[in-house]
């Protein structure tokens, strides 16, 4: 048995348990596990909170990095995203969409950070301008790059190099798709503000380009 159920035990007032005894199970049947974790976190349950953070920290980080932010800027975006969840932890209504909520928030915080820095952020979907951003944000791109010499083998180095040679739109989509654990398309859609239906075709096109270039370079 995992410890999730123990961690997630909701702390309702005794009166509520008497009135709604049937609902007092840590996870009501059919309820998304996030619902119990959010309820517990809203009462200050640190373990429940950490379960949420550990599940989604990489997604939030990947969304921030997909905007070509430096590690230091991505750290601010991550922090702002988690603080915003704390702010709203008691009123997240659809627990099953928590990942999408976090992805949306991370996107908005990334754009807010870019605006603050006086960088132009045109209206429209994130994917429309990421290439344009890539040019503007050349700042610490180099220092933040996995150093080709430390990539485990030559094949990884070539793969990463070809990934970085893709269009901004492709790099952004793939950077989110390779979050760990792999995000749902709903989460990717929230992260990039693009329709769910566009993700499959864009993914296919971007991976197609990447695979052709890899085939040509190996």
């Amino acid at each position: 048995m995992g410890c999730g159920a123990v961690v997630a035990a909701p702390r309702r007032p005794a009166g509520a348990m008497l009135l709604f005894g049937a609902m007092a199970d840590p996870e009501s049947p059919g309820e998304h596990p996030n619902a119990a974790l959010l309820r517990a976190a809203a009462t200050g349950d640190q373990q429940a909170w950490e379960s949420i953070v550990d599940r989604y920290a990489n997604l939030v980080w990947s969304v921030a990095r997909s905007f070509q932010l430096s590690r230091s800027d991505a750290a601010d975006v991550s922090q702002a995203t988690w603080l915003r969840l704390v702010e709203h932890v008691a009123d997240v209504r659809e627990a099953d969409k928590l990942g999408s909520w976090l992805a949306t928030t991370a996107r908005r915080e990334a754009i807010a950070l870019l605006r603050k820095g006086g960088r132009d952020v045109p209206a429209g979907s994130a994917g429309d301008f990421v290439g344009h951003l890539g040019v503007q944000l050349g700042l610490d791109r180099v220092e933040d790059e996995p150093d080709a010499s430390v990539l485990r083998d030559e094949r990884d180095a070539v793969l990463w190099q070809e990934f970085r040679a893709l269009s901004g739109q492709c790099q952004q989509l793939l950077r989110v798709l390779i979050a760990d654990p792999p995000p749902s398309y709903a989460e990717v859609s929230a992260a990039l503000d693009v329709p769910i239906g566009s993700i499959g075709p864009t993914r296919k096109r971007c991976l197609g380009t990447l695979r052709r270039r890899l085939a040509a370079s190996i």
């Binding site: 950490e50 990489n58 750290a75 702002a80 988690w82 915080e109």
Partner: protein, 149 residues
Amino acid sequence: MIGEEEVLSSLREIAGRHDPVPPAVLAAARASLSWRNPDAALAELVRDSLDRLISVRGGSPRVLTFLGGALTIDVQVITRAGVVDVVGELAPVMAARVVVESPGGTHETAADGEGRFRVEGVTPGPVRLRCEPEVEGAFVPIRTEWVQL
């Protein structure tokens, strides 16, 4: 030719090794629950000069307005040498403690007789303000939403 899934999982593995969530970022995320403050009313950001279509460049300070209950908090943000100064005004005028909170540190001051306050040297990043009555019960404590300064 290498398959789609194989390419993705190889990229995921490379990102996992070379661009993981930095330990300090993970630690900060885990620690952020301590900023929970359910006893204060949330004041929402209702205006941010950065949102204007024609952004003002060339040294004009950013102006933010928060609205929480009957209290309006106007804030000017002045960026200098890697830190920010926050100059604000409460309306209506209240005798209030004002705390500028950020994960990088907390600065406390008081609104003067005209509702004005000033805090200098705030670390850029997520920041919020807390306003508490000097006289207990004079008004419900207010916390603003987090904004990146």
